[in-house]
Symmetry: C2
Subunit: 262 residues, 2 copies
């Protein structure tokens, strides 16, 4: 699985590891604030221009299903969703996770019907935005169109990152990268990242990452053993992340072929 790694000469896992205990770097903090602002601005803009229909959801509720007629895009104001697809032969796949500020339903534009299911994993609020109304509003407000296109662009770029992760990272690194991305998403939204509630079963995480639930469990145990994560006293569903950078370092350690021992 690691055959395609171009062990570039510039790679220096030691340096990366040295950065372990450093607090979140300045530029990253700025970037996070910027993204948080962008999300707030986007929501405000949509609220102002389109008065979207707000819907409160509880864990388990479905806001659209594959095959359903496409009329609305949705944007998350709060909560957390999973996006799943089902192949004709019955394989199921979690293909995306969505947080505040993320859009849902882009896949429906092309065919006039959604091709995925969107399921709430927690209580939250989604705004329904009729696609036709959005287009109409876009013609008068260039910034609305920009916001829409940027959201689609970001989704495309992110999907590629996901593919890269499943194709190039070993199981342990994939789990670490998954947690890192989650923490990062929370940070960008101004939420605390030291204590995160996954609200997904090991099976769901494993499905998303292309591995079995047992492998997820083992990876988490190893991360905990290495003190990269911790489990809250009550239950092992919530994960404590003392330092996000340590997750990145862990990924690099998984990739390093020889630990340069001695």
């Amino acid at each position: 699985m690691l055959s395609h790694i171009n062990a570039s000469a510039t790679l220096d896992p030691i340096r990366a590891f040295a950065a372990d205990r450093a607090p979140v770097a300045k530029p990253a903090g700025d970037e996070n604030r910027r993204v948080g602002q962008r999300i707030a601005d986007t929501l405000a803009l949509l609220a102002a221009k389109l008065a979207p229909q707000r819907r409160l959801v509880r864990a388990g509720e479905v806001i659209y299903q594959a095959g359903g007629r496409f009329d609305n895009l949705y944007i998350l104001n709060s909560g957390f969703f999973k996006i799943t697809t089902l192949s004709p032969d019955g394989r199921e796949q979690v293909v995306g996770l969505k947080f505040r500020g993320d859009w849902l339903g882009f896949d429906g534009i092309a065919g006039g019907a959604y091709s995925c299911d969107a399921v709430a994993m927690d209580t939250g609020e989604v705004w329904a935005i009729p696609y036709e109304a959005l287009l109409a509003a876009c013609s008068g407000h260039r910034d609305l169109l920009t916001v829409l296109h940027e959201a689609m662009s970001r989704e495309i770029a992110h999907d590629r990152d996901s593919l890269m992760s499943v194709c190039t990272l070993p199981a342990d690194a994939r789990v670490a990268e998954f947690l890192r991305h989650w923490a990062d998403s929370l940070a960008k939204r101004g939420l605390r990242t030291d204590q995160i509630a996954l609200r997904m079963t090991r099976a769901e995480i494993g499905n998303y990452l292309g591995m079995t639930l047992e492998t997820v469990s083992r990876a988490l145990s190893r991360l905990a053993r290495d003190k990269v994560i911790g489990f809250s006293s009550k239950g092992r569903r919530d994960v404590h992340i003392p330092d996000v950078a340590a997750l990145t370092a862990f990924v690099q350690r998984c990739l390093a072929p020889a630990p340069t021992l001695q």
Copy 2:
């Protein structure tokens, strides 16, 4: 890897196999023609409204690179491209393959810079479409905007299918599915699908599918042994596909846990 398969009771691999030798079904043929028409219409529309700058490329030419300033979207009039990303730590990943009518560069919209490389794998013609000019033209022509959004939507949906394949299919099935999709893409563009020139090395295919080149080679050998594909007399780069449906059947056979022997 197959743990998440919901072996639905409606699944019937025998039926699927029985369809092996059937010619391409009517509805699929219609669908292909429809898609071919859509691509031709899109290209005609863009040519008429935007007079895009046409550029001839030869195999190996790069039309944009990660980090490069985003100004243009591109649409392929002919030829065939690969899209690759490079992670900060040096992992490389083929994240997409593009054919006539496909757009390139959507990933650049959000950040103002491309996040991937686009490399020609064959001679062809790409049209450069300045993004700002496109947006300007869209305000007057709703159909242009529709075409753009549908292309982005299709890309998102396709990326999800890719993720599903790498996450849920064993290596052999992944290669079969890859060939099936390739043949399908050619069929939609009105090209012959019985004889296809991959123009990718085993290493590139393997990278795209998340496996090593040796595994790709073995999978192709097995497909040939099972008469699902054939190799042209000269060289093993070109693949002969007598019947696309047989590839789908092969995928299903890979998934069937027990071949219901006896």
